[in-house]
Symmetry: C2
Subunit: 418 residues, 2 copies
């Protein structure tokens, strides 16, 4: 640590980082200490305005693209070169925590603050970014902003997606962009020289190994599906069970059949039915329709493909007197981040005297899509008991600060590259 | 039919009855030809205003009580005697039909119209009534208006019930009563000499037997429950299944165990899970909570009691790593309407040359609670294929008219009794 006074990392302030994390968590704060800040909601609009205010105080230049991806730019000495991007997202699950996504954005902001305070100017511009709708809770599937930025999904496709109330992404984007009318407008997708995302691990590996910095090897593969079970509404008091086409009874059989079939002794397959909606959902009406989501993940591409391909057949076979229609949504292959990026993170951690280890990411992140357009990587920090997508999400100030120090070092280094 | 010119029934108009049924169905009409007119909604407020207008045109006196039960009174020659009540409800399921409830109210109105047109005045007053919240879809459980009228449930208890948006019955009642401020206010519960309710059968017996008039023997017993399964929210991508407490997986096991245990070869037990709500209901979050309803019915009191008593144990045993909490809601004993009332309906049908038969009611109706305070009975008419609680609900004009003729005869006869 003899060179600490000369590193970018030495200008990172844990107090400033933490104050901004706590301040951001007030936008959509829940009684239970978590955050409900759904994508493109009024809470997110207010939180974005606060980010813009902080960025201007630091001397960064805010801008936005048509997908409401928000960029906070520190111009380099050669601003015509493709920039380095670093960030994550600030939308949350309905009962989310203070750190999932928010940590990566605030750590990016603090990294730029530290670089400015160091008095050094990088060659390339560095931009902190908050990608639109990573969580996919209000508008499914998620990672929309990074997907359209990277050209993975067309803008028209995401604009047509609606939330439970019938509001479309297009309409909601209109509200956000109207609130940010004064910001310069960026093109949707521009050349990028590198992307680094800091995030809480959302697992127990770093905590178990008592390690501060997680160098992410890659992201497991993921397939998602929408299953619709159609039966017939009838009167709960009059209709004999033999005469019913009860969509809930069929859906329960289907879910049970899926749970039984997609089961691995090693417990490496992630299989989740997180959304399950009954129509008309009235106590004395036999349900006529059930729609549920399937989220399937594994590190091995062939496993994800094979298990996913089994799903339609299982659903149709188990639906009994009802019908099952399975719609394939996402199919993301597993990915491995470049060795060069992983190496830089490990070396930065060594310089800072921080323990580090390589580990895979079971969760999806915006880095998945940035990986398609530029060398990308991720830094994980530990989170308490691996609890995430939960209001009880918790990290320590020390870990959050350490992760930001590593992030600041690596993004500055990347921005110095020709 | 030689005396037809002198009967009250001869003044019943099928056209007028049908026109009013179709006009009422426009309040809350759905694209699929059904009706969504939830209890105490703005649609119901508008429909009630139309009922009041029709009643005034006939010369009836509208009034309302604190539970928003709506009375349309034809004063008798001895108005100090307890009146005869006849009616049903005009609230519907979210995807309800045009006839469930509405038929009984409009048939009551037409009966009074026919009596007025006959030029005869009964001794007792006759009141058409629309009971508040029979369906129990927005505010559970249902039959609230008749329950408080009959003293079965206290007013304070129903006022505290809330809908999915958090609006209480007390608040919603306030809106309805404000809209009907000009109507005279009746006491909540007053002496009644008899109650007769016309309703669609919601089953296939009358259609199968090609019979027009169903003389209802009684109503089967019913128990309802609320089951809450509590687990823990976690991340769908990171949390191994072995480490999850997935409330949906547990709820599926519980529902399957209930379906298996509460099963009778004779298919006489009605067992329905109509409402099933997952929290937070997001595709990439392992569900932390599931709440579902149980509706259990059978004609035999001991069967209903014994099966209902099994439910908490089954839920707790099948909940696995989650917890199951079972709350007992309703417990209504089976009931038998008085022989005298059933005899009168049969004799009226005979006089009118209408085929009739006795049959039980598997569905609950407001007559259940009126039966506690006065001699009560019910008239069923056939409905197509027994389809009800469904937008496709259908009856013929001929059957609707015949049921109203029988209703008008019997209520007039009851009102002539000393």
């Amino acid at each position: 640590m003899g060179l600490a006074g000369k590193t970018i990392a030495s200008h990172v302030s844990g107090d400033r980082l933490w104050d901004r994390l706590m301040a951001l968590a007030r936008f959509g704060a829940t009684d239970a200490g978590g955050v409900c800040r759904l994508a493109l909601s009024s809470e997110e609009i207010e939180a974005r305005a606060e980010l813009v205010k902080w960025a201007r105080d630091i001397g960064l230049e805010p801008s936005v693209d048509a997908a409401a991806n928000l960029f906070l730019t520190l111009p380099g000495t050669e601003p015509e070169l493709p920039p380095i991007l670093t960030g994550s997202h600030i939308d949350t699950q309905p009962t989310g925590g203070k750190f999932d996504g928010a940590y990566g954005v605030i750590a990016a902001l603090e990294s730029l603050d530290a670089i400015v305070r160091s008095g050094r100017r990088p060659r390339r511009s560095i931009e902190a970014v908050a990608w639109m709708n990573e969580e996919g809770s209000r508008f499914a599937p998620g990672m929309m902003g990074s997907a359209v930025f990277a050209g993975v999904r067309p803008m028209a496709e995401i604009e047509a997606v609606t939330d439970a109330s019938g509001c479309s992404v297009g309409e909601a984007l209109g509200q956000v962009l109207a609130a940010e009318e004064a910001l310069p407008r960026r093109p949707l997708g521009f050349p990028v020289a590198g992307y680094l995302e800091a995030h809480i691990e959302q697992g127990v590996v770093l905590e178990r190994e008592a390690t501060t910095i997680g160098v992410v090897i890659g992201i497991q593969g993921k397939r998602t599906f929408r299953v619709e079970i159609d039966g017939e509404e009838s009167h709960a008091g009059t209709t004999p069970r033999g005469a019913r086409r009860d969509a809930l009874v069929s859906a329960v059989h289907v879910v049970q059949a899926l749970q039984d079939a997609i089961w691995d002794e090693a417990d490496e397959v992630r299989f989740t039915i997180g959304r399950f909606t009954v129509t008309p959902n009235a106590p004395s009406v036999v349900p006529g329709k059930v729609v549920f989501s399937i989220d399937l993940r594994h590190g091995d591409a062939e496993t994800v493909e094979a298990l996913g391909d089994m799903i339609p057949g299982i659903c149709e076979a188990a639906a009994g007197k009802c019908t099952a229609a399975v719609q394939k949504l996402l199919h993301d292959e597993p990915l491995v981040f470049p060795e060069s990026m992983r190496g830089r993170i490990g070396k930065a951690a060594d310089r800072l005297g921080l323990s580090h280890m390589e580990l895979p990411s079971p969760a999806g992140h915006d880095a998945r899509y940035l990986h398609k357009v530029c060398p990308s990587g991720m830094i994980f920090i530990p989170c308490k008991e691996g609890i995430s997508h939960n209001e009880a999400e918790s990290v320590t100030i020390a870990d959050a600060t350490a992760g930001t120090q590593a992030l600041a070092e690596v993004v500055f280094e990347l921005a110095e590259q020709g």
